[in-house]
Symmetry: C2
Subunit: 190 residues, 2 copies
Amino acid sequence: MQALKERIVQDGFALGTEIVKVDSFLNHQIDVAFLQEIGREFKARFSGLQPTKILTMEASGIAVAAFTAMAFGNIPVVFAKKAAPNTMTEDVYAAEVKSFTKGTVSLARVAKKYLGPQDRILIIDDFLAHGEAGMGLISLVEQAGAELLGFGAVIEKAFQGGGRRIRQSGCRLESLAVIEKIENGTIHFL
Amino acid sequence: MQALKERIVQDGFALGTEIVKVDSFLNHQIDVAFLQEIGREFKARFSGLQPTKILTMEASGIAVAAFTAMAFGNIPVVFAKKAAPNTMTEDVYAAEVKSFTKGTVSLARVAKKYLGPQDRILIIDDFLAHGEAGMGLISLVEQAGAELLGFGAVIEKAFQGGGRRIRQSGCRLESLAVIEKIENGTIHFL
């Protein structure tokens, strides 16, 4: 997605060789109009599919998942929770997720009543890096016995291997911008 | 907002005398069309105001904030982060926030570059209970020297005092559904 690559170059910046900061429009401040564009792009990439729900991970996947769901005609979004509130008392599917940027391991949970064998799921997330969150989301879909239609990532950092993991699991992956490497503060796209 | 009260009665349920679960449409599974309605309702309640940004708290405030921002003509959303990723390296405003439902105290942070004296802020959140998250968000706006236009809560639990705290701080509060009490599994609205 050309507009996204341009936006990353214009507003994002590289932190060392591993991290791309895009918190001016994607995951801290949200450019609401641009995320609607991104949602329509996912709809186009996965055209013909008829997901019943979008699954994402809290917190930074929520906005892009919501606008993608809007593009798909207002289907529901379910977001996996990484901390279990005491209001989450029912049966859940759970998957361990390691965060390299936070240095934590958390348990991503979805209440069983919101994901089931009748569902056709499209996973949407903001970043695909090492694929920890992504594989966790796929595990949740598998545990539910739902059909996994595909995985849409806004930004994939190819050098961290998450994309390979997702594809090797047999899941169709669409990344709107794929970063090959970060070198001397410059972001190189594939 | 009558449609919201009906939805709470229909799809929500009371857990003891303190907790209303609305995770079928608001804070775990998201009803994308209904949240757009809620966004338009906030726009109507705060009509005439011209916020430059919507401020909310991750994670469950993000979707409703995003659709409210859309109703206000696609102004940016900024969401306060409760865990600090190692990608968050810049100067931040921070406020301690206690969660009664999670039994935790966290530090809500916003990067200084996304909130400043030039901003007119509308705060939007999904729940207003004891007001901990709400007062934290107000503190972030004050620290930034921004103008606080108002506070919109989807559901206020009046018996937990958060609404009183927000109003006593001098902030205009609009809650779309105000719960007076929960008794024998029945939700009573004000």
